[in-house]
């Protein structure tokens, strides 16, 4: 009996080992095949077939019984959380099917898209040459928008968001970089219930489900992102083809007792973004379809509880993608502040060489140097001597200031074409005009920092002449009016 038991045990052991080996082989082979693994008959399932051409993409799909579904092709404005308009749909019965998408995504093919269901042409859409008149430089897939609706979720088969090629001449290649939350032209192909509709995507980023590292603000407008430098506020605008900062601002605060909080004082450890002017609740925006504006508060986190602890309010308006509002928040924490200065940095990276006050003519750094007869001695930054410019006397009106580079081509192209810029870190995005608008009632003072020296090579002049390296506005802290910072595409 014992011998029989041992024999059975050995046989089981061998069968078990064979089972392990066969299971591993089968799983490896299954991962290469396009067989549908139907684990749950109530769910939509798809498996991509091996790619056999760059313009054809095929899937085996399983559609469950008991619910109507349709295959939809959406084309047009698309983003990570945005659905394009549906340009074609067809009922897809329950069972197993094969779906093929042909993407004729070139000017030559006039952006023609064809969907086949079980070998039959069911949707065809030609967008025409003008859809992306210069073609596209890169394309990336976009995931399905996050949703709380988990019952019978749709199944996305394919998606693409195209980065259009800007026209700077055939010899001038432009490398654009943005993210999937920027609205671009593209498509989605998916299986969905016929009665399911989608609201247009929120223009804001920073809502629940959005990745924090891409910033908060407007998807296609200005976004605030946490800065690696504690004292600075950093804004990006990926819609203008770069994810690097387009605007960096450093602030100084002067207390009613004469105390000063600045980058030199090293008192601030970070700026924390929060929901309200008081309290410590982290930022929590809620998605409201009708909400056209959102605000957030930057709280200065100091090393000690004494001293100035300013709170700044930021405001984004969905109807004004180019601007972000900024002001001292209406909170007791700001009461001890008498004046504050905003210093807008990075002029030597943007090569700011033109500045305009209101409707006055544009001036150069040399003009500004000649026009200023006072040095800004109030600045705490003693390493910089700023040239003060007269803003005029119009106490009732808002004052507008604009500045920009002289170059019309993106600076990455300028740097490539002109060897003198080699080694300089220049702004990588599309050409922009920057601006600030503030109430004259805040008794503003304007000063500019002009740089003539090359940033890295000693005793060498900056290629192309001096630039406005920083623009500084000093304001009274008595009113809580908005100051608008703008970043406008020059295109």
């Amino acid at each position: 009996m014992l011998t029989t038991l041992i024999a059975v045990s050995i046989a089981i052991g061998m069968a078990y080992r064979l089972n392990r080996s066969l299971t591993q082989q089968r799983n490896e082979l299954l991962s290469l095949s396009s067989r549908l693994p139907i684990h749950n008959e109530d769910e939509l399932i798809s498996v991509a077939m091996p790619a056999v051409a760059d313009d054809f993409h095929s899937w085996h799909v399983y559609v469950p019984e008991g619910q109507d579904y349709e295959l939809r092709l959406g084309m047009g404005a698309v983003s990570e959380n945005g659905m394009p308009p549906i340009v074609g749909s067809v009922r897809i019965p329950s069972g197993q099917h094969r779906v093929t998408l042909h993407t004729g995504d070139s000017i030559y093919e006039e952006f023609r898209y064809v969907v086949y269901l079980d070998g039959q042409l069911v949707i065809e859409k030609t967008m025409g040459r003008q859809w992306l008149p210069n073609g596209w430089s890169s394309a990336s897939g976009i995931s399905w928008p996050t949703s709380s609706d988990r019952s019978s979720p749709p199944l996305q088969l394919a998606s693409q968001s195209y980065e259009s090629t800007p026209d700077f001449g055939s010899q001038n290649y432009f490398n654009a970089q943005s993210d999937g939350y920027v609205t671009r032209l593209g498509y989605r192909l998916w299986i969905d219930q016929p009665d399911r509709t989608y609201q247009s995507a929120s223009p804001f980023i920073g809502l629940p489900g959005d990745p924090q590292y891409l910033g908060i603000g407007l998807r296609d407008g200005q976004r605030y992102i946490a800065s690696s430098v504690p004292y600075q506020w950093t804004f990006t605008r990926p819609k203008l083809a770069t994810t690097e900062p387009v605007l960096r601002v450093e602030a100084e605060f002067v207390g009613t007792d004469g105390s000063i909080l600045s980058s030199q004082s090293q008192a601030i450890t970070s700026w924390q973004i929060r929901s309200a002017a008081s309290g410590k609740d982290s930022l929590r925006w809620q998605e409201e379809a009708v909400q056209a504006t959102h605000t957030a508060f930057l709280h200065a986190v100091s090393k000690s509880a004494d001293g100035l602890q300013p709170v700044i309010e930021l405001k984004w308006d969905a109807s004004q993608l180019d601007v972000v509002g900024i002001r001292l928040a209406d909170t007791p924490a700001n009461a001890p502040i008498s004046r504050w200065r905003l210093r807008i940095l990075d002029g030597s990276q943007h090569l700011w060489r033109e500045l305009q006050l209101g409707d006055r003519p544009w001036i150069t750094p040399a003009d500004a140097h000649n026009a200023s007869n006072i040095r800004d001695e109030s600045s705490t930054n003693t390493s910089k001597q700023l040239a003060v410019l007269d803003l005029g006397h119009e106490p009732a009106a808002d004052i507008q200031l604009r500045w920009q580079a002289k170059e019309t081509l993106p600076l990455q192209i300028v740097a490539r074409n002109d060897i003198r810029y080699a080694g300089m870190r220049l702004y990588q995005g599309l050409p922009v005009k920057l601006g600030i608008q503030f109430p004259a009632a805040l008794k503003p003072k304007l000063a500019v920092d002009i740089v003539e020296q090359h940033p890295t090579i000693p005793e060498t002049a900056l290629p192309g002449g001096p630039v406005f390296n920083a623009i500084q506005i000093e304001l009274e802290a008595v009113e809580h009016d908005w100051i608008w910072l703008s970043v406008i595409s020059n295109e």
Binding site: S9, I12, N19, P50, V52, R98
Partner: protein, 244 residues
């Protein structure tokens, strides 16, 4: 007590028999499934996990609606050993019947070596674009296309195809330092006598796709130019199979 022990042993025996029947049935089902998948994807047993294994997929799965748009397709099931660092090179122009010589445009790309072994399907297909042949290469989600200039797409049915492996002859395995000419196509009617690197050779309109280990990159460059590296050993380059 004796009866209790006997009863326990009998129960153990019965449980063992049931388990054995279960595994036997399950293994039969798995073996049948594996056989069917191997019939679709090619049979390949990995005897030495440090060697590259490749087998041709006899009938690549191409949807009917895509068939009219494809001029030719070859698919290979590949096993790449851990940390295998290779590049793929695709180029068209003029090639020789033997060797790796190729004049004309080409493109190459490096993969990133993985710490674990890789199983994947490698696909090479051709489409006609502006009366040119466009080669499409795809492996594990990344793909690339290369225009094979000078190759008349209309004559694709008359070309000679040289493959590293063939579905008829089964899987092959290679040392990880071997240069692998996966596929070569040439038109035999376009023979031309040329002198390359001081040697008289016959070239044809065609193109090739090569998998090259990083350790052999500089040698491949010389071989592609028609030169013979100083310390060259013929076994560095795998030879094509010939279907009878």
């Amino acid at each position: 007590m004796k009866y209790v022990i006997r009863l326990f042993v009998i129960l153990l025996f019965l449980a063992g028999c049931i388990e054995l029947i279960y595994y036997s049935t399950e293994n039969k089902r798995l073996a049948a499934d594996v056989s069917q998948l191997e019939a679709e994807l090619g049979k390949m047993s990995i005897k030495d996990p440090d060697r590259v294994h490749i087998v041709e997929v006899a009938v690549p799965e191409v949807p009917l609606e895509v068939v009219p748009h494809i001029k030719g397709i070859w698919q290979f099931r590949c096993y790449l050993p851990p940390s295998y660092d290779f590049m793929n090179m695709s180029g068209g122009g003029r090639v020789t019947e033997e060797g790796l010589y190729q004049s004309g445009g080409f493109s190459s790309s490096w993969g990133s070596p993985q710490p674990t072994a890789i199983h994947g399907l490698m696909t090479v297909s051709f489409q006609e674009r502006d009366n040119r042949l466009q080669a499409f290469y795809s492996f594990r989600g990344s793909s690339r296309k290369t225009s094979w200039t000078g190759f008349n797409a209309d004559r694709l049915s008359a070309i000679v195809v040289l493959k590293l492996v063939s579905s008829k002859q089964g899987a092959r395995s290679f040392n990880r330092d071997t240069i692998l000419p996966l596929l070569k196509l040439y038109d035999p009617s376009t023979a031309e006598d040329n002198e390359v690197a001081g040697k008289a050779i016959v070239t044809y309109k065609g193109g090739q796709i090569i998998l090259c280990p990083k350790s052999r990159e500089t040698y491949l460059e010389q071989l592609r130019m028609g030169e013979t590296p100083l310390d060259f050993e013929p076994e560095w380059v795998a030879t094509a199979v010939v279907d009878e």
